[in-house]
């Protein structure tokens, strides 16, 4: 029982980071219909920027996190401008392949600068709590807390501010949004900034727990796609639920069945779900995208 609860706790922690990363992707993929496969590498880059600020420049943990988030938001804008804007109206898989190119570029730049080996960000909150036999480190609790705060703030931003609601307007009807004077280019850039910033935030809070390496981005990118599809395109509650489901599948499958194959469970679940329902669990009907 204790093992089970421990796995559930780990699953929730893992799942809440996945949820935050997937939220960014669901905004970009579901709302702007841009399959940004490089999203996972924005996550990876965020962790490395944070690592660089702490280990090389000697910044404290939280200022580094803030700077990394801002830097990555700018990177997101740049990515949208250079790669996705020219392909906005190109049908088919061209944007996906361009995203794959961006993924390769980001991964290899990081590998060139910091090497292929893993690095570790020193844990800023190493304290341990023992709740009914479940070991919780403060950093792990913090991951969950940050995820909850980020999700609430994002929801408030989209629902309560004018700027935020332009994102939703574009999602619902691009032409209509243009007619009422919304600048689609600006909304696009904004969405990419938010998505990349969120990815960086998730990466920074979880980096002290796991090692960081250049190849982790592709894996996270693939998983966030799994989640976005699990949860339905553009659906924020779907992304949160999907993130938690995937986190739990991995933690429990990895804990009880086989740690080496834990990623297979998540991907297997995706293929299975797509086989039964090609547009995802809560997905709307979509045309050949």
């Amino acid at each position: 029982m204790e093992l089970f609860l421990q796995q559930v706790f780990n699953g929730v922690m893992l799942g809440s980071t996945y949820a935050v990363v997937a939220l960014g992707l669901t905004l970009v993929f579901g709302i702007l219909h841009v399959p940004n496969f490089a999203h996972g590498n924005m996550y990876m880059l965020g962790a490395y920027v944070c690592f660089f600020l702490i280990a090389t420049l000697g910044f404290a943990y939280w200022p580094s996190v803030a700077l990394a988030v801002i830097f990555l938001a700018l990177c997101g804008v740049l990515l949208e401008f250079l790669v996705f804007r020219p392909l906005r109206n190109v049908p088919g898989i061209a944007p996906f392949i361009a995203a794959l190119g961006a993924l390769i570029v980001l991964e290899n730049i990081v590998e060139l600068v910091w090497g292929p080996e893993g690095h570790r960000i020193p844990n800023p909150h190493p304290g341990i709590l023992d709740v009914f036999g479940i070991i919780m480190t403060q950093q792990r609790l913090l991951v969950i807390l940050v995820a909850i705060v980020a999700i609430i703030l994002l929801q408030l931003f989209i629902k309560k501010t004018t700027l935020g609601s332009t994102i939703e307007a574009v999602a619902q009807n691009k032409e209509g949004a243009t007619l009422v004077g919304i600048n689609v280019n600006r909304v696009s850039a904004l969405t990419f900034a938010i998505a990349s910033g969120l990815a960086a935030l998730a990466a920074c809070v979880i980096a002290p727990i796991f090692m960081i390496s250049p190849s982790m981005g592709a894996m996270v990118g693939m998983k966030s796609f799994v989640i976005v599809i699990l949860g339905g395109l553009g659906s924020i509650p779907g992304a949160i639920a999907g993130g938690l489901i995937l986190g739990l599948i991995e933690a429990i499958g990895g804990g009880y069945l086989s740690a080496a194959y834990k990623d297979v469970f998540g991907f297997g679940a995706l293929v299975l779900i797509l086989a039964i329902k090609p547009t995802g669990l809560f997905g709307k009907e979509i045309k050949g995208r």
């Binding site: 399959p35 250079l82 790669v83 020219p86 392909l87 190109v90 088919g92 898989i93 061209a94 996906f96 392949i97 361009a98 794959l100 190119g101 961006a102 993924l103 390769i104 570029v105 991964e107 290899n108 730049i109 060139l112 592709a218 693939m222 796609f225 799994v226 599809i229 080496a260 194959y261 990623d263 297979v264 991907f267 297997g268 995706l270 293929v271 299975l272 797509l274 086989a275 090609p278 547009t279 045309k287 050949g288 995208r289």
Partner: protein, 325 residues
Amino acid sequence: MMTWLRNNWFYLLVLVVALLVPLFITNRYHSQVITMSCLFAIGALSLNLILGYTGQASLAHGGFFAIGAYGVAILTHTYGWNFWIALPAGALLSALIGFLVGMPALRTRGSYFAIATMCLGEIIHLIAGNWMEVTGGHNGIVGIPLPSPITIPGVGQLTFQSQAAQYYLVLFFLLLTLFVMYRVVNSLRGRTFLATAINEDLAEAVGINTFRTKLLSFVVGNFFAGLAGGIYASLIGSISPSVASIAMTFNFLMYVLLGGVTTLAGPIIGAFVMPILMENLQALKQFQMIIYGVLLIVVIIYFPRGFMGGYASLRDKLKKKKVGA
């Protein structure tokens, strides 16, 4: 006969040059590069059938290449099968898994299909790396025998020890693949592939069973991917899970897109030009992947039809000029 010659002299010339290659390339290393290019051209051609002619971005292509490679490696090395039985077996295994996996995966479309196959590729990669008893885990399999000699009555034995013999072996399979692809895409069946690629809903409306069309293309494509993988395993002599990695898929994708998607010559040109280009950019080796990535983005934005597309539009322009004058 004469008109046939006039129309096809260029292809004939290329064929003659291809047959004479071992005469003027004696350097072992260069010969190896060319043989591998021919091999990867088979893989690129098969991806092109799925990606170009049927419009389905399969990102599990490296995985199916690896299934063929592991199939031949396990059958010849572990079970001692004759290569000439193991090779079709490996390719058929790849096609069979393609069929089983294509059934669910091909129900999805566009980016969804790309993501689903990417996950499948990753699953194959993970299995190759973790199924110790069969695949040898991360160390892979070493000591895979070369293709078994063929005895030709009255002539003697054909062995595959020499570089030239290996080159001809691969060239034979490249020509075979090219021939099959040519026949397929120029048949009525091939037209249904293209119709599915261009507009799936419309194809469905005129009575094409698009699911079966996509499945057929996927299975045939993966058969040839497995074939290329099987030859690769035997010629290189050792394999590791890296043959199933996304980097392998990415290479094939690169060759197809740079050479020219939905053309028969494009993937072959891509498979020859890219490795040779990279050989000559040895100094930039560490930037290789970055250059690849940037190139991919630039090509997809500005030259979506690759080299062959650029060539075709140039030819059209020249023709128009001639007509105008």
